[in-house]
């Protein structure tokens, strides 16, 4: 055996935990600010003809007069302002726009006006959770079915789901820090990225598992640990190359794509990397831990397989 990758499995788990736990702590402390896609509210992006941007305080004052407290104003690199506020009707929007044009003595163009009522925001949040749950269940059942000819097929499904949850937690953790320090929001695009990561993570894991499935029937007499190790080594070239091409594509999207999808692409970069890592260093080792029932020795002796 050329490399013994599987031997250091507890080190890989430790690395994962070192990424995930700070993420969870951040999540516990700050939470994830929801965008108006998931929370009721209005978002208005305005461009001023003269190119001069008004003082945020003046804009907030106009909103206050219209009865919308706690609005937040952001200026963008494209010389526009983005105002987030409680949800408003079309009439209120028109009132605000004309108040602005009057006060700032300028013409405006509305680039974006989104409004979400309180009912729908809550529904989307709940259903997003259901969607993730359903996706996990669907994938679990499919793997169980696809691996039905080898012993303990369900373990592969569950290990793939654990690796997937790993990636979800990594992405959410990173997003927590990005939103705390850079004001990124949990919006539909973030959700799309998250769901893509889930799909890709499982995609990647299955390729490794498929090799384990194949090798299990070829090398019947080898210990399971060696079969898994061998499978990882055999698929390593492919794992690296595929991840590399996807990351390259995402890099070009991040560098040359529009500003609107930049957050989306960066989250995908993090998620795809994590997905590749978890397939090799979490999903496959979990199979070994499970096969050896290693948890029975975790608390007896301090030093185990590592």
């Amino acid at each position: 055996m050329k490399f013994n990758l599987i031997g250091k499995r507890y080190l890989y788990f430790l690395i994962s935990l070192l990424i995930i736990i700070p993420g969870l702590i951040g999540f516990g402390m700050w939470g994830l600010p929801l965008s108006i896609d998931f929370n009721s509210g209005s978002l208005l992006e305005i461009k001023f003809q003269s190119g001069n941007l008004p003082q945020p305080a003046d804009v907030i004052a106009i909103y206050d007069q219209a009865g919308l407290k706690d609005s937040r104003v952001q200026t963008t690199a494209d010389n526009t302002i983005v105002v987030r506020s409680r949800d408003m009707t079309n009439d209120t929007k028109n009132q605000i726009i004309s108040a602005m044009e009057k006060q700032f003595n300028d013409k405006t163009t509305i680039l974006r006006f989104d409004t979400v009522g309180p009912a729908i925001g809550k529904e989307v949040t709940t259903n997003a959770a259901i969607a993730v749950g359903l996706a996990a269940l669907g994938i679990l059942l499919y793997i169980w079915f696809a691996f039905r000819n080898i012993p303990n097929a369900y373990r592969y499904g569950i290990a793939a789901i654990i690796a997937m949850m790993h990636d979800v937690l990594v992405v959410i953790g990173v997003q927590t820090y990005l939103s705390h320090f850079f004001g990124w929001e949990f919006d539909t695009l973030f959700l799309t990225a998250l769901l893509t990561v889930i799909g890709f993570s499982v995609h990647d894991t299955i390729v490794v598992f498929d090799r384990v499935r194949e090798n299990s029937s070829v090398y019947r007499r080898l210990p399971f640990e060696q079969i898994v190790n061998h499978s990882i080594v055999q698929t390593l070239d492919r794992s690296i190359n595929t991840t590399l091409t996807v990351l390259l594509t995402l890099f070009t999207l991040a560098l040359f794509g529009g500003v609107t999808i930049r957050h989306f692409v960066i989250i995908l970069l993090v998620g795809i990397f994590s997905g590749a890592y978890s397939s090799i260093f979490n999903a496959a080792p979990i199979l070994v831990v499970w096969e050896n029932r290693e948890w029975t020795t975790w608390f007896n002796r301090n030093k185990t397989a590592a």
């Binding site: 969607a131 499919y142 190359n241 999207l253």
Partner: protein
């Protein structure tokens, strides 16, 4: 070898078709009922416009049926067309919602107001006591409370205005009886009026009523608000009339549109609206297209450098894949959104993965000393399990994403899921059919043992 040649010819025909669909100048297909202009359809985020989610108002004790929703949808469609808004897409979502997309729309407020109003017109028997315009009244239409007929109440003391407002009035007929509605300006008064013509049944009701009630008032009520209450001067037998309110050209037009296409079976609230300016979209589409092309080029370069000869085959396979996908986008047609483009670019990644899996397996088989043709077939067959299972799991995620997107009119998610799924299906096809055929065509003539460096081995 013979089967391979047949496959190669089939692929070339498919490629030629895809290129034909993709060439600029936009060819058109007209085959009986099947028509396609083959223009790429851009989503709202790319060309600007408005997206709204309308939700049926809850009336206690009444459930909204699927028929009512579908009926409402087609009425809304007719109304939008009547207002001159083109390329509107309306979809019923869930039990009580309609998602409307209005690309490139500027007069958003006005359209929204005309669309969401029920547009229920009633002709109400007012007896001899007219109420002023703008009064909101109660009628016996769709109600179990019987109307107090003005003729019965006539003997009592003169009613106060408050009494009149609380009274349940009798609806003679509704706007359903109107067959034609047009807007004209009256020559003598230069008032803008809405002319209407009644259907046969309506004509008879109108004739009977006007004959028997000369000198009484007949109110014209829109969504329970009186818009005019003219006095009947003479019988009207021919079923024609006009509505005189305080109309502007626009409001008269909107009313005519509502009358022409009938009233909505339920009233709607706007629960979500998004307006995207076109400048935002223009910026993103250019950048995304360039990014997509660069991405594709970088991948091809990587494949050629790393896998050499098979890499060139893969690059050809990828080009085929991109051409077929683009042709499908035009044919179906798929509405391209920002996230849709992202989904497409990502599916390229998955298509590359299929090629990488096949090549890595092929190299293994070659190292194990198999013959060339054997290695291609074995490598392909062994990689196929991984390709199939991993892609099916992606498809499962896509289906759930698509469902999630449809549930909320979250077109971002839906577009992403659809293009990714389409990309995965096409990439499965290219992996099964195209890459293998290309490999055989190119590699059957070259000996691996003589040129191992051509294979990057």
């Amino acid at each position: 070898m013979r089967r391979n040649s047949v496959n190669l010819i089939l692929i070339l025909i498919l490629l030629a078709l895809s290129i034909w669909v993709n060439v600029p100048g936009h060819p058109q297909i007209n085959l009986g009922g099947f028509q396609r202009t083959m223009d790429l359809v851009l989503g709202l985020d790319l060309q600007g416009g408005m997206q709204v989610i309308l939700q049926a108002k809850d009336t206690p004790g009444k459930t909204i049926t699927i028929d009512q929703m579908n009926n409402a949808k087609s009425i809304l469609e007719s109304r939008s067309n009547g207002l001159g808004v083109s390329e509107v897409s309306l979809q019923t979502v869930g039990a009580n919602r309609i998602v409307g997309e209005f690309p490139g729309l500027t007069k958003t407020d006005e359209v929204l107001n005309t669309l969401k109003e029920t547009g229920q017109l009633e002709f109400v028997d007012m007896g001899s006591t007219p109420l002023p315009e703008g009064t909101v009244i109660i009628t016996d239409l769709n109600s179990t409370t019987p109307a107090v007929l003005p003729t019965q109440a006539a003997g009592a003391a003169a009613p106060t205005t408050a009494d009149l407002k609380a009274r349940v009035w009798h609806t003679l007929m509704t706007g359903d009886q109107i067959s034609v509605a047009t807007v004209t300006t009256q020559a003598n008064t230069s008032n803008i009026v809405v002319n209407f013509e009644l259907k046969d049944a309506g004509t008879k009701i109108f004739k009977d009523y006007t004959t028997n009630n000369i000198g009484k008032y007949l109110a014209i009520v829109l969504d329970k608000t009186i818009i005019s209450a003219p006095v009947i001067n003479s019988p009207i037998p021919e079923g024609k009339g006009y509505i005189e309110g305080k109309f502007t050209q626009e409001t008269a037009n909107n009313l005519a549109v509502q009358l022409r296409y009938g009233s909505l079976p339920v009233a709607f609230d706007v629960i979500q609206s998004q307006v995207v300016g076109p400048t935002l979209g223009q910026d993103s589409i250019h950048k995304s297209i360039i990014a997509g092309l660069i991405g594709l080029f970088v991948i091809m370069l990587f494949m050629v450098i790393y896998y050499r000869l098979p890499g060139i085959v893969a690059a050809l396979g990828l080009a085929t894949y991109a051409l077929i996908s683009l042709a499908l986008f035009r044919l179906i047609p798929v509405t391209l959104t920002m996230s849709g483009i992202a989904g497409f670019v990502l599916s390229i990644g998955m298509a590359v993965d299929a090629n990488i899996l096949i090549f890595e397996r092929m190299k293994e088989e070659l190292r194990a000393g198999r013959t060339q043709a054997n290695a291609i077939d074995l490598g392909w067959r062994r990689a196929w399990n991984s390709i199939r299972d991993s892609n099916i799991s992606t498809l499962i995620t896509c289906v759930i994403l698509f469902w999630f997107g449809s549930q909320f009119g979250a077109t971002i998610v839906k577009g992403f899921a659809f293009t990714l799924a389409l990309g995965v299906v096409v990439s499965l096809f290219t992996a099964v059919f195209v890459s293998r055929t290309f490999l055989h065509t190119v590699l059957d003539r070259i000996k691996f043992s003589e040129h191992p460096t051509w294979f990057g081995a």
